[in-house]
Symmetry: C2
Subunit: 198 residues, 2 copies
Amino acid sequence: MTKEKTFISEARREQILQATIAVLNDTGYVKLSLAKIAKQAKISTGLISYHFADKEELIYHTLGYLIRTQLQFIDERVKSETDIYQQLIAYIKATIAYQQEHYQNNVALIEIIFNARTADNIPYYKLNEGEEDPLYLLLESILIEGQEKKIFSSEFHPKATAILINGAASESMLLHSESFDLGNYEQELIKMVTKMVK
Amino acid sequence: MTKEKTFISEARREQILQATIAVLNDTGYVKLSLAKIAKQAKISTGLISYHFADKEELIYHTLGYLIRTQLQFIDERVKSETDIYQQLIAYIKATIAYQQEHYQNNVALIEIIFNARTADNIPYYKLNEGEEDPLYLLLESILIEGQEKKIFSSEFHPKATAILINGAASESMLLHSESFDLGNYEQELIKMVTKMVK
DNA sequence: TTTATTTTTGATTACTTAATCAAATTTTAA
DNA sequence: TTAAAATTTGATTAAGTAATCAAAAATAAA
């Protein structure tokens, strides 16, 4: 169903998408304008409108790209492990690593999620993530599988634990100063999570 | 140093502040305008400019109010406990309770923190919170005191644990659907934290 | 090559925005 | 009461916005 796009059109859309991510990092969502994106990409403003129906479509297209990229990054690292405990560790490490290695993507994602709204005017951050977000589902499935295979304790509640781990891992992105040692935080987080699930 | 304000002026500023919180909840930061705030408060736009130097001052004034109110709410509940473990529990419960009881304040706080920027164009959410945020400091001091008094285990890292608890407690605000039982999550979170610190 | 199609430009449009300000109104002080 | 000060209005201004579109340029097809 996706409209057939030419090679040039796809390349241009990709360029505009990357320019959007750059401008979101520079100026934030509030001051994001087609003029700024055009300037960043060194193209005319009209060209953005030629390739995207409107600003909203551009933002949703960017949002989709950012979510897919992050999921792929983490999923890949989790799936490369066979042991279920190692998968849990991989999930935590990958979540933190993505925030470091793709910092600009992460910032752009935050800018969009905390500003873009659905057609019904509901902001994304209010959206009931737990049910749909594939990242949550991935983490939860690891925890459940670990319990079923008796590798993890049956004491903890998978959903609550998934929320806690995700919250703790995401929180780290908001904390990168000289005085904060992220590597050490990762170690401590793994220790704490291990204590909880084992 | 704070300029002496008349009674009327203070009342009007308070009214405009509350209207700002209401509009932030209705439309979000991106579509926040002086015209909308004026309409909400049933006053003219010029009156906002009379009481606040510019939009920025209004937003920072609102931000300060929201931070102070939340801190006061949680600090009060923590200080009402004498036992250090009970203080930790009170911190978690108060954090979750504030999100429920002052939902609109919480939404407004999120809208501002994820959009407002310092004079140097640094967004608040990128600001190295851990060092300054009094809420973090309160939680960390509880954890440290508990360790010093040998009530808590000496195994865990206070700073990392503070980040984890805060992240887990804040995360809950993003998750309120019919299918999600917040009361149960609070119970589970307390269980997990207890396991970690005891 | 010649023609048709796609892509790109940049000026233009209609609209929204924050901030200003003269004039009107209300409150306070003498 | 009367004058001065504080408060409030709403029209106006200047700057910025997303989107449109005719014309130009580049690319593909015949």
